[in-house]
């Protein structure tokens, strides 16, 4: 290892433990006195709990306690919260129903937890949970959100009439209607964004320890944001005060949003450990439970209308969306179909008039919340399918139609809140078109046709908003938290450095990239730098990792702390070298006076800070600085994706022949890791487009509840990707970073579907474009 700073393809420090089997995920932890939890879950989508009979179960081997929802609420454990308040357009606050971690009177989706069994072994807990006899009065369930809004539909929560949580709007409706009415051409589509199950490969897990002597809890959990978990568990669920609760998110095996939320199981394990009088309770989800209870993603249905003038410029865009939020409002569920979605409906285009109405609805399905991209994939899918369809309807090249409408001057204020700060959309498009050989497509199409195959090409020009977010801005929009990030840089007396960060790495490689900032700043080798995260006892506070925020926000906090460390080190060195502070330079592990041969080694200055023998008058000893960074704007990664497919008209099977991504992520710290993020995002987006689909039957049973039924993309479903980047620096943060974690999942679905619809010759196709659906679309024609 050497000195490898910003922009270097540094191999990952964390890999050693993962490739040798020494990673330590939550379920790998074992503690003395550990018991196991198994949950009794509702087999019905909607039912009243008449009676819970635990007589037989409680006598079974190893069982130390069986607890229900009334005992939980009786002990003062609070209901699960939604952290973002949305007001309907009539000014009323959202209609939120109660969600208890264990159901008290009603169950509202298959998998809703009714009781928990604590036993000495996992097998004993599972066996006893099966023996708990719950008597239900089964009620009619509603799965489809449009049907849920009907007058005679089953009601899930008394608070939400017609199951409508809110009826919200953004933009000017009258102006948009008028613009579309006066348009030379109008394009209309109804677009469904399919429901997905996030499926990080590590299932959720919680290990709750209770120290009775200290009345103190420790929770190991699969979390993307352990500090937020601690705050919410304390302040809202009343499990324990913050100073009596330590939350550790150790190695976490992927999240993709689904591990942001504080789930019932974590609350119950903490509460039940104390209640059962045991030292520790562990619960690890099996994959079936994960399918049933992890927060799902997407599930929108929208009607969209776009008007163009005679020069093919967009004059207005109107959208009416219904979003299915499932049986309960998960932590950030309300923000996803509103501020993370409708604010991106301007895409990369200059559109003066936009209006979007969103109704969110309760149904008897698993809760729906942010999943990789969260709202932005839904917006991009709408905008980019509309653009492709419009190009075909108007008879112009899809690339040219987009180019004619690109935003080219910055800053650009859209009619839906966002102010784009920088970008060059034409540059990404040029790069992608060249990489895919756009001009040569017709030749390739003819070649495919000779084999009896349908070849298609499709484009997607996405924009998204990352770096969430300026705290005051999101506060004014209803967020219950600020979305800054914190960091601390501790320089040890021997000159090694620890970075403590409120971000959390669950695959993103922070231990490597965050260290690159220090290497770059002081010229220190990476082995002298340690990144510390994921433990509320070590790191003071932090908002965690999601929304591609750890580069733009988390690293900015580290930069700010490094600024302070550098300033103090320079003061100390100037004093030691009897030079002016402004002449001190820190480079390659040396601290020197510019233009002279006077210098100290980095560790000599650090040691000087800690001995305190020779510090400037009045200076405190030590070299440790903290910073809180609150972003000034969202960041706006953008890019152009082009997909080329071959469709077999006899089977409906789609093969991706080429997939090209040209992204603008601003400044890049480690290109190797950025490419990896894009690859992973593309796979999830292509998975959504071609195969993934969470399907409930009419009674509310999840039909796609295992890897036998829910089609996860496998290696032979995907091509190798051609990824590249263009760069416009982000003016909003000190490093110029925009963020790269979600782009692939945001931009790719419309590129795939646009390619397939191009191949089959009409636009009437919904995701997932499974062979069956594509075959049916070919047969149905327009």
């Amino acid at each position: 290892m050497g000195i490898e700073g910003i922009g270097a393809r540094v191999l990952r420090k964390e890999d050693k433990r993962f490739i040798t089997g020494k990673g330590r995920y939550t379920d790998d932890h074992k503690v003395a006195g550990m018991h196991y939890a198994a949950f009794v879950r509702s087999p019905h989508a909607h039912a009243k709990i008449k009676k819970i009979n635990i007589k037989d179960a409680s006598k079974m081997s190893g069982v130390v306690g069986i607890f229900n929802g009334k005992e939980l609420t009786g002990d003062g454990i609070g209901n699960i919260i939604c952290g973002w308040m949305i007001h309907s357009k009539d000014g009323s606050p959202m209609n939120m129903g109660a969600w208890s971690a264990l159901a008290t009177e009603y169950v509202r989706y298959v998998g809703d937890a009714v009781a928990v069994v604590i036993a000495e072994t996992q097998a004993e807990a599972t066996a006893a949970a099966e023996a708990v006899d719950v008597d239900y009065k089964v009620l009619k369930a509603v799965i489809n959100p449009e049907e849920a809004m009907a007058d005679k539909a089953p009601q899930l929560h008394p608070e939400a009439a017609n199951n409508i949580i809110y009826d919200w709007e953004i933009g000017e409706e009258a102006a948009t209607d008028a613009a579309i009415a006066g348009a030379a051409n109008v394009v209309e589509m109804e677009i469904h964004n399919n429901r997905l199950v996030p499926n990080p490969m590590e299932p959720r897990s919680a290990l709750a320890q209770y120290d009775a002597a200290e009345d103190h809890f420790t929770l190991h959990t699969t979390s993307q944001n352990p500090h937020v978990a601690r705050l919410v568990l304390s302040a809202f669920y009343q499990v324990a005060p913050e100073n009596k609760l330590r939350v550790i998110a150790p190695d976490v095996g992927g999240g993709f949003g689904s591990k942001i939320y504080i789930y019932p199981e974590e609350i119950v394990c903490l509460w039940a450990a104390k209640k059962a009088g045991v030292e520790a309770v562990k619960w690890t989800s099996d994959r079936s439970e994960a399918f049933l209870t992890d927060a799902h993603g997407r599930d929108h249905v929208s009607k969209a209308t776009m008007g163009f003038d005679e020069n093919n410029k967009i004059v207005g865009f109107k959208v009416d969306t219904i979003a299915n939020l499932g049986a309960y409002m998960s932590l950030f569920s309300s923000s996803v179909p509103t501020y993370l979605y409708a604010t991106l409906l301007s895409g990369q285009y200059n559109i003066q008039n936009i209006h979007c109405n969103v109704r969110t609805v309760y149904t008897n399905t698993a809760p729906v919340d942010a999943y990789r991209g969260a709202g932005r994939p839904e917006a991009t899918y709408l905008v980019e399918r509309m653009m492709e369809t419009a190009a075909r309807q108007l008879g112009v090249d899809p690339a040219e139609l987009r180019r004619a409408n690109f935003v080219t001057e910055f800053p650009h204020q859209t009619p839906v809140i966002m102010c784009y700060d920088a970008g060059d959309y034409g540059a990404s498009m040029d790069a992608a078109m060249e990489a895919v050989d756009y001009a040569g497509f017709e030749k390739r199409r003819k070649k495919s046709a000779k084999k009896g195959m349908l070849r298609g090409i499709g484009m997607s020009c996405y924009i998204e908003a990352c770096g969430i977010a300026p705290s005051a801005a999101v506060g004014s929009l209803g967020a219950g938290v600020g979305l800054w990030e914190s960091a601390e840089v501790r320089v040890n007396p021997v000159g090694t450095v620890e970075i403590l960060t409120g971000s959390h790495s669950h695959g993103q490689g922070h231990e490597t990239t965050f260290g690159q900032l220090v290497s770059d700043r002081f010229g220190l080798p990476s082995e002298n730098i340690q990144v510390v995260h994921g433990d509320t006892d070590k790191v003071q506070f932090g908002m965690g990792t999601y929304g591609s925020r750890s580069g733009a926000v988390g690293m900015s906090a580290i930069e700010k702390a490094l600024d302070k460390v550098e300033a103090k080190a320079k003061k100390i060195a100037a004093h030691m070298l009897e030079a002016s502070e402004g002449d001190i330079e820190i480079k390659d592990g040396e601290v020197s006076v510019k233009g002279t041969d006077k210098k100290l080694l980095w560790h000599e200055v650090c040691l000087g800070a800690y001995t305190g023998h020779n510090l400037p008058e009045g200076m405190e000893p030590g070299l440790k600085e903290g910073a809180f960074y609150d972003p000034t704007n969202f960041t706006f990664p953008a890019g152009c994706y082009i997909c080329e497919v071959e469709v077999d008209p006899n089977t409906g099977t789609t093969t991706i022949e080429k997939f090209v991504a040209a992204d603008d992520f601003g400044k890049i710290i480690n290109p190797m890791i950025v490419e990896g993020q894009v690859h992973g995002g593309l796979a999830q987006g292509i998975g959504q487009a071609l195969m993934e689909n969470a399907v409930y039957d009419e009674s509310g049973q999840l039909l796609s509840a295992s890897y036998m039924d829910y089609t996860m993309p496998r290696a032979d479903d995907l091509p190798s990707f051609d990824v590249s980047t263009t760069e416009t620096a982000c003016p909003g943060n000190p490093l110029g970073i925009k963020g790269c974690g979600e782009a692939g999942a945001i931009g790719s679905p419309p590129a795939v579907i646009n390619a397939i619809t191009n191949a089959i010759g009409h636009n009437n196709l919904s995701m997932p474009a499974s062979p069956q659906n594509v075959w049916a679309a070919i047969k149905a024609g327009e």
């Binding site: 490739i19 990080p200 490969m201």
Partner: protein
């Protein structure tokens, strides 16, 4: 209860286990070898792949008693004393992992792939052979690269050993 005697990573182990104990649970719970992971309950994801008598096996789909008398190698036993196995090196050098959860199974599958098919593996073969291993982070792009590179390096090792 049943007595099992399994050689794990070269060391003789034995224990009395419940008849229903899966090999993966024996490794994780009895032997504390937590590098072998459980990612599903339908034998689909491959996070639990180990080698039993030199062949890749999903340890969630084999009882510990079935492995009794066998030689089991897990991810923890793959590296030599001082150096990584070439396949482990290749995963690191090609950024073939992100969260790391599927990685042990991927590497054990990859080593088995080379043992069966030899060191010259094209992309199509690697992708087809990964049918039983799911990764949610990498999009497989760099895993495929890693395995091609690891196979090549293993081939050099085999050639050297033969000489």
């Amino acid at each position: 209860m049943a007595k099992v005697e399994i050689t794990v990573n070269g060391r003789a182990t034995s224990a009395e286990v419940e008849d229903r104990t899966l090999l993966v649970d024996y490794l994780r719970e009895n032997r504390n070898l937590t590098g072998t992971h459980v990612g599903c309950d339908t034998s689909q994801c491959g996070a639990c792949v180990v080698h039993v008598d030199g062949k890749a096996v999903k340890s969630c789909t084999m009882l510990a008693v079935q492995a009794s008398g066998s030689d089991v190698q897990t991810i923890e036993g793959l590296a030599g004393d001082d150096q990584l196995h070439p396949m482990q090196e290749a995963f690191r050098n090609n950024h073939g992992l992100q969260c790391g959860f599927c990685t042990p199974g991927m590497i054990m599958t990859a080593v088995d792939m080379v043992n069966r098919l030899g060191p010259k593996l094209d992309e199509k073969t690697i992708r087809a052979e990964l049918e039983g291993n799911i990764c949610r982070c990498t999009g497989y792009h760099n895993i495929v690269k890693s395995i091609a590179e690891g196979a090549k390096q293993m081939g050099k090792g085999m050639k050297k050993a033969a000489e």
